[in-house]
Structures are given as C-alpha cells and as structure tokens.
Amino acid sequence: MISLRSVEKIYPLKGGVFYALRNISLEINEGEFVSIMGPSGSGKSTLLHILGLHDSSWHGEFNLLGQPVHQLDKKKRFDLQKKHLGFVFQSYHLLDDLTVYENLEIPLSYRDVPKKERESAVCDVLDRFGIVGKKDLYPNQLSGGQQQLVGVARALIAKPSLILADEPTGNLHSDQGREIMKLFKKLNEEGTTIIQVTHSEENATYGSRVVRLADGMLISK
C-alpha cells in the first residue's frame, strides 16, 4: 500500500541543512496497524504528514496505493488524499462552530457527495459510534473522549482505506484513550489500514508493527 524509498525532509539553515527525515525507506501493507514511535523531534509527525500528503516538500520516492506520489502534481495528490485518507488529530481539531452532525458531514461536502447520500452516511456513522444523541451538540459541549470519538468518526466517514492518527489519545484520560485504541483495533480488524504516531508503548501494543525513529532516521521497522 505504501512504499517509501530514500525519503528525506530537509530544512536549509544558515549553518547548513537540517535533516528532519533522512533516508527513510519503508513498506506498509494494506490491513496493517503500524505505530510510529520515537522521542520528541525524531520526525514522527513529519513522516505522518508526508504520508498524509499534507507535506509536498521532500525528496525521494513515495508510492501510495500504486500511485507515484513524488511524480503527481498538486491537484492529483489532493484528489488521492481526498479519496483514500482519513486523519485523526491529537487535539481532536473539531470545528467549534459546527454541531457534531455538521462536523461529520463536512468531509463529504468537500468531496461533493450529494446531500441525500451525506445524510445517510452521517446517520450511519452516528449510529455506528453510538453518538446519535449528541448530533446537535457543539464540540465544547462534549468531553475530550467524546470529541475524539467524533474525530475518529469524521476520519472514517468518507470511507478511507488508510487512517493516519497523530497521537490520538495524547489529550485523553487513560480510560478514554483505551476506548479509542479499542476502536482503532476494531476498525483495523474490519480492514482499515491504520498508521498512528504515539509515545505510548501501551497504545503501540494495539498495532501489528512498531516503526521507530530517532533524529530523523529509521532505527527499526
């Protein structure tokens, strides 16, 4: 599903270049649940944003679902991202002005999904995550765990084949964190490929593989 060959991310500084990522080569297969770990500043989030196609200023080869990302123009990368990727953030990043229902609906509206289909998809997800009763609430009316639940539901609503999660339990109590990780596990068992960045060894145990980074370099895969 994902193939990285000698991927590098460089920041030019006055005293010379700084490698945020150096010579990263990595394969991730469909159906895997990969945890990227490492100390702060090791390049975990940088790698995740490259994988999530948010970052395009890097060198090397990156194939995603058979598409050579390194050769695609901005629009095609954007289309690939919209079609196949879902993101879960550490601090939920729900849109404060929108209700739970509207937060779930928004990725679909950006994909020009017709209104009827959007309604049906949102109802389905609300049902599946057991948050029907919260659909008219605003994010600030939810607990952290509930907000992250909505965040995961939102990442899933467009039926992505790959979910990228950046420390998804970083802002949660341990019980809430466990619930979210169980949810990821379940989703993975249902066929969704998941890549998470985490500091937590416990969270990593929910996954099938751990990739470790240090100083921008891959030290284990």
């Binding site: 940088t46 944003h49 948010h54 849109l95 002005d97 990725p107 950006y110 939102r154």
Partner: protein, 811 residues
C-alpha cells in the same frame, strides 16, 4: 446554498462585536453613497416623464456679452414657431404667481401660463378631464385651467366633480377642465405648480411690468420647448434655426441684434441649464466623498478580516486537512464576506433614506419641500452595485490570504514566526492608504471650512445690521401707479412711528436674496455694441436716501436727493464695475446711459464701491441705482433698520402695514436670514465635508488602532522577553510606536500629495481660498498625525502592561 448561508450567518454571529462594527461601517458607507446618489438620480438621471423625451428640446436665447442661457421673448417664440421646419410644434411656459381667491381668503398661488398645445406636445394625459387645447389658447376663449394633482387633492377634495368648477384667479373665473397626473411638475424638476392656464388669459393674470415684458420682443420672459420631427437631430435643428435667428436680428435689430438660439436636450433643461453643471459637479463631489468613505470603510474591513483570518488559521487549516480545496475555502470566506456586505448594504439602504431626509433638510433656500427624491429601481440598483463592489473590495484579498495556510505548522501547533506584521505587510499598506484617503477627505473639509470663514467675514459693502425687509404685493392687489406711490408714502410714515424702528427706506430689490432683476442698459461710451445694443445689467430703483441708509460708499459724484424727480433730468448712480466696463480709465461723472426703447439720456451723477449684491461669491457685476421719483417701479421692498432684534419687531411692522390695507399680501424677513441663505452654499459645503471628514478620520483611527492593537497581541511573547530582560517602558512604547509613526507618516505624505492633485476639482466651490491652501494642508497633516499617534500610543502603552511570566507561559 441555504445551508452555506446558515453556516456563514452562524460564523458571523459568533463574533457579534466584529459583525456589528463591520455592518455599521458598511451601512454608513453604502448609506452615504446611496443617499447622495438618490439626489443625483432625482435631479439628473431620472428620465423626463414625457412621451419620447429624446425628441424634446429646450430653446434658449444667447446674447453677445451676456453670459449664460436666457429665455425667449413671446414675439420671437411666435416667429420661431411659425417659420421653423424642424419641430412638430413649439410650446411656451411661464412660471408665475397669481392671486387666488377662495371665499374670503386671498393667497398667491404659483403655476404656469402655457401654450394650448403644451400638454399634447409633452404627451402628458390628465388623470381627470382633458388637457388644455389649442382652442383654449385663442384670444377671447373662455378662461380654463388644468389643476395639479396636489391642488385637486388638497383644495378640491379629490372630487371627480371638480371638473367644471369655477376658480377665481385675479378675480377672473376660470373653469377647471382637467387634473394633471400625480407628480407632474412641468419641465422644471424644482417647480411645484398648482395650475396650468392657456396664454390667451395673459392679460388677466399678468400685471404691470409682467404684462409689459410678456408682449415685448426684447424681454426674455418665457421658457420654450419643442418636439423635433422624427429623424431630425439636435445639430440639424440648430443649423436649420440659425438663419431664422439671423433674420430676427436683421428685422428687429434693437431687440435681437447679437442674439442667437441654443438648443438643449430636455433632460438637461429640467434644472436651470445655467447652473446645471455646477449642481452636477456638487452632486459628483458628494458621491466622490461618500465613495471615499466607503473605500476607507472597505480598507478598514479588509484589515479587520485579515486580523480575523489570522485568528481563524486553525479552522481553515483543519478544513483543508479534511479535504477542502482552496476554492472551497475561499468560497466559504467569500460567502461570509458577501453576507456581511449584504447586511451592511441592506442597513445602508435604510440609513440612506434617513440621510436623504437629513440632506434634504440642507437644501438650498427656495427649493420646494415636496420634491420626489425616491428610492426607485435605479437607486436600489446603485445600492446593490455598491454592496457587491464593497464585498469584492474588502472580501477578496482577505479570503485569498486566509486560504493560504501553513497546514503542518498549524496542525502541529508550532509557534508562529511572525513578530506582529511586517512593516511592509498588506495590512500596513491598507492603513497607510486609509490615512491617505482621510487626509484627502479632511483637506477638502478644511478647505470648505476656510471658505465658509472667508465668506462669513466678507465685506458686504453695505450695512446689514438690524435690518428687516417687508414687501407689499400691490400689483396683485390691483394698485395703479398713483395709488402705489401714495401707499408707499403712507407706509413709510407709519413704519417710522413704530417704537424700535430707527429708519426706513425703499428699494425695488433687496440685496443677496438671489432675486436679480435686470434691464437693458446702454452706456454711451466708446464701445459701439454697448452704446447701441447695451446689455442686461442688474439695477435697483431706490428712495433718494437709500444709499445713505444702507451705508453704501460713494467713490465719486453725489448721492440722490429729493430733487431727482420728474422735474429734473434723469439721474443714475453706477458702481465701479459698470464705470470700468463703460468708461475705462475715464471719469464717468457726467456721462450718460440710455435704456431700452428710450432715447432719453440718463446722467451718471455718482459712482459707488462694488458691493456684494446678487451673490456673496460672485465677482462684482455692473449695477445701476435709479431714483424712484424718476423711474417708477411697482414692486418695492421696505428696508427697516431697528434698534434691536428685527425678528421681534416683524409682527408689529406687519400689523401696521395691514392696517393700511388688509387686502395687500405682505411678506417679511429678517435680513440675518437672507445672509444665512446667501451663505447656504458655503455653510452646507463646510457642514457636509466636515461630516465626511470626521467619519473618515474616525474610521481611519479605528483602523490604525485595530492594527496596532493586534500587533501588540501578536508580539506579546517578544514584549514579554524584552520586559523579562529588563527593558524600560519607554523602549517598549518606542518598539510599537515606531511602526505606527512610519505607517502614518507614509499615509500622511501620500494623502497630501493626492490632495494637491485632487483639490483643484473643488476649486470652483471655494470662496477666496486656494485649493492648495498651505495653512489647511499643514493643519490637517498635523491633526491627522497627532490623533493617529494617539491611536498608536494606546496599544503601545498597553504593551508595557504585559506580564512577562504570563506572556512566556502562553507559548
């Protein structure tokens, strides 16, 4: 779409403070522009309410050495009508006041004396009855009248039975044959006639000099309109009429030599064509200034939106991360901005109605109060266009800027490297532009205020202190010359006995009221054209003591005396302007003038200083004073000097004159009101421009303050570090002020340069003030710099209150 709008509305509702300020700024800008436009629309753009108005033209006389367009004489009109080949018809109209009797009450009602074909020519159909016809215009035809819709409603109870009723004008019964459509005013947009009468009745309604002038070929008394034959252009018509004008000049040289004809499209003749361009320029100036306010409001809003975009970066980044394309993000922000513009525009239309009424209250003296300055389709279209343009102006750049986000930095919550806006940032450019626009608005306002000061302090050349005016309408009351002179003598004697009255005199015209009777005067100097044909010049017929009474200074010769009567040779006192025109470099005393159709020489016995007679602003024009005992004038005005406030004495003065003859219509006015009216242009200009200037200043200060305050917020960390390292308060204030000083300085300099180029367009509105008046420029530059620095100082001062611990912890 509805959902998008709902979301946009919710987003705006989330920031009520921002939304309120933004909507109010826009409403003020759109409202001011729309209000100004509604006047421009009513006076200049509304199509004339006539059938095929493009075919209609207004005919005017022009004369060598007499500036401007004049009306026509009735005999000339008759000749043009009979001999032209380019018009389907010509019609005349004359605005006049006639005594109207209703039961016991007499009043003067204003209306039009018109040709029988007037209504047919315009294609105007009465709502009731019939229009005047050619048959009504035949001498000896029974007197008939078409009344205005307003007259029908107010005086005839809007009854269909009004047709056939008899109305008494000048004691002559007129039969009502029709009611004009609502809003029909005739040709002039500012006339408010109550009736239209056929010219066949002129002997019944025109009296004294009015009657004399109506039949004279020399006197230009009537307005004339014509309908061009299909396919005939204005140019072809003018060329075709030229030989007719030349023939009239040959056939009647005493009356028509030097005269020609000018055609004006009817749409340009509905306001006095001689003042149309001035009024149009005044209207355009108002619109331009309102547009300037709108521009400043847009710059302010763009700035606020850019600041808001900074605060919304996380939300926008998130939307992009969720799959929103840049177009979708820009679209959403534009929807919000256009919603803001729509709310501002909607409120602006409401404000424009209020502002329109406010502006209407500042109308020139003498304008009727029932003008229709409506919010019609054209005004609404203007408001909508202004709103859309506004939305584009303030909305697009911030939306584009906001859609350009550093996704990863924001999602990773990396602290911004921005140290509070670069000095060259777009927001600073906007503030500098606002300052520059404000300087332009304030300089213009300053020039108008200086102009008002100059006009208020102008030397009139005569004494206006404690002066009251009273006029008695003796002609309309049927007085002949003997009775008139007798009335004046009795009235003078009576008025002089009233306690509080210091002195009384009489003149045929007061100064500065805008009324400017003229007659043909032929100074017998070296200029042949002047000597033989003369030209129209202003004049007054006065009591022998009038010049002394008014404090007019004689520079040569003598004043009138009681001996200047019928038994002595006729005498005239002229002003310096006429002396210079007729006898340049010579002593005019003893020289003579002649009047139209009168070969009797009138000897110049004195020369007065030039005075402000017709208008405060006008350059002195030739003026002549004639003694009343030698030149009878039926309509005269009592000039009454009082010991105290003239207004207090007016009721007593009226009562005294009414006791002489209760049937005579009297009008009275305190001269201070005349002076106020004469200063109307200067005062209104100064008021309006000052209001615009203050709004511009306020909006600009708001803009400067907002940008500086945000810079302080964005630089909190930097300020915190400086303070933690021991920086003095002065250093922190300097850090923030430096930026404000540079931005304001650039704006002020740019504004002064722009004002230098632009103020020449207002030069003609100014009175004895140069458009580049250095004092005004310096004061405005100082004022704006001072208050702008104050607007910077408040956030700078706040910056010194930053707690270094809190500032650093927040990062």
């Amino acid at each position: 779409m509805i959902q998008d709008l709902r979301l946009a509305l919710r987003s705006l509702a989330k920031s009520p403070g921002f939304t309120t300020v933004a909507v109010l700024m826009l409403a003020l800008g759109v409202g001011a522009s729309t209000a100004c436009f509604s006047f421009l629309n009513a006076f200049f753009l509304r199509p004339p309410p006539f059938e095929r108005p493009d075919e209609l033209v207004s005919l005017h006389s022009t004369e060598d050495k007499t500036p401007g367009l004049m009306r026509l004489s009735v005999p000339n009109f008759t000749d043009y009508r009979a001999n032209n080949t380019v018009f389907t018809d010509l019609a005349l109209h004359l605005f006049l006041g006639v005594r109207f009797t209703e039961g016991e009450n007499n009043s003067i009602l204003f209306g039009h004396l018109v040709s029988g074909s007037y209504f047919d020519l315009l294609g105007v159909k009465p709502v009731l009855g019939r229009p005047l016809s050619v048959a009504d215009d035949v001498e000896g035809a029974p007197p008939v009248v078409v009344v205005s819709h307003a007259f029908w409603q107010t005086r005839l109870a809007a009854s269909p039975e009004a047709l056939g009723r008899t109305l008494l004008f000048n004691n002559v019964p007129f039969t009502v044959v029709g009611v004009a459509p609502a809003g029909f005013r005739g040709i002039s947009v500012i006339d408010a006639p109550d009736y239209w009468m056929p010219t066949s009745v002129y002997r019944s309604v025109l009296l004294g000099q009015g009657l004399e002038f109506f039949i004279s070929r020399r006197a230009v008394t009537v307005s004339v309109i014509g309908r061009l034959k299909p396919g005939v252009t204005l140019g072809q018509a003018a060329a075709s009429l030229k030989p007719l004008s030349e023939k009239l000049a040959i056939d009647f040289p005493a009356d028509n030599a030097g005269r020609s004809l000018r055609l004006v499209p009817i749409a340009q003749a509905m306001l006095d064509p001689n003042r149309r361009s001035d009024l149009l320029r005044a209207g355009n100036l108002l619109i331009a200034l309102a547009g300037l306010i709108l521009l400043i409001a847009c710059a302010n809003l763009a700035n606020l939106l850019l600041a808001r975009a900074g605060a919304r970066q996380r939300e926008i980044a998130l939307r992009v991360a969720l799959g929103a394309s840049r177009g979708q993000v820009v679209g959403q922000l534009l929807r919000e901005n256009f919603l803001l513009a729509a709310l501002g525009g909607g409120l602006g239309v409401v404000i424009s109605v209020w502002l329109r009424d406010l502006l209407w209250a500042l109308r020139p003296p003498g304008f009727p109060d029932n003008m229709e300055v409506n919010v019609d389709g054209r005004v609404l279209a203007f408001a909508v266009s202004a709103t859309i343009l506004t939305g584009l102006l303030f909305g697009v750049v911030p939306a584009l800027a906001a859609s350009r986000v550093d996704l990863i930095a924001i999602l990773k919550r990396v602290p911004s490297g921005d140290n509070g806006l670069s000095i060259f940032s777009f927001r600073h450019v906007l503030v500098a532009a606002q300052v520059a626009l404000s300087v332009v608005a304030l300089v213009i306002a300053g020039l108008f205020v200086r102009s008002l000061n100059q006009a208020s302090a102008v030397t009139l050349g005569w004494n206006s202190r404690n002066l009251a005016l009273m006029s008695a309408d003796l002609v309309q009351s049927g007085y002949n010359q003997t009775r008139t002179l007798e009335y004046y003598q009795r009235a003078l004697a009576r008025l002089r006995t009233v306690p509080g009255v210091l002195d009384v005199s009489i003149a045929s015209r007061p100064f500065l009221t805008g009324v400017n009777p003229q007659r043909t005067i032929k100074p017998q100097g070296e200029d042949e054209a002047l000597r033989t044909r003369g030209r129209f010049m202003s004049f007054a017929v006065v009591q022998p003591d009038f010049l002394r009474f008014m404090g007019l200074e004689l520079v040569a010769g003598r004043d009138f005396s009681v001996d200047d009567n019928g038994t002595h040779p006729p005498a005239v006192i002229i002003n310096e302007a006429m002396a210079r025109l007729a006898w340049p470099g010579q002593d005019p005393i003893g020289k003579t003038i002649k009047l139209y159709n009168d070969e009797t020489p009138v000897q110049v016995v004195g020369v007065t200083r030039n005075i402000r007679d017709v208008e405060l602003r006008a350059d002195p024009a030739p003026f002549a004073f004639f003694p009343v005992a030698q030149f009878f004038e039926a309509a005269n005005v009592f000039h009454i000097r009082t010991a105290g406030n003239p207004t207090d004495l007016l009721p007593t003065l009226r009562k005294e004159l009414q006791s002489l003859d209760p049937a005579v219509n009297l009008r009275s006015i305190d001269y201070r009101e005349v002076i106020r009216n004469a200063l109307w242009g200067s005062r209104t200009g100064a008021t309006l421009m000052s209001v615009f200037g203050v709004i511009a200043l306020f909006l600009t200060l708001l803009g400067i303050y907002a940008v500086m305050a945000q810079a302080v917020v964005q630089r909190t960390r930097e300020i915190g570090i400086c303070l933690a390292l021991g920086a003095q308060t002065r250093a922190v204030v300097g850090l923030i002020l430096k930026r404000g000083v540079i931005v304001t300085g650039v704006g002020v300099l740019g504004g002064l340069a722009a004002a230098c180029g632009l103020t020449r367009y207002v030069g003609s509105f100014l009175f004895e003030v140069k458009p580049t008046d250095p004092l005004t420029f310096a004061v405005i530059a100082g004022l704006l710099s001072g208050v702008a620095l104050l607007a910077c100082y408040i956030p700078a001062r706040r910056a010194t209150k930053v707690d270094p611990l809190i500032a650093l912890r927040s990062e």
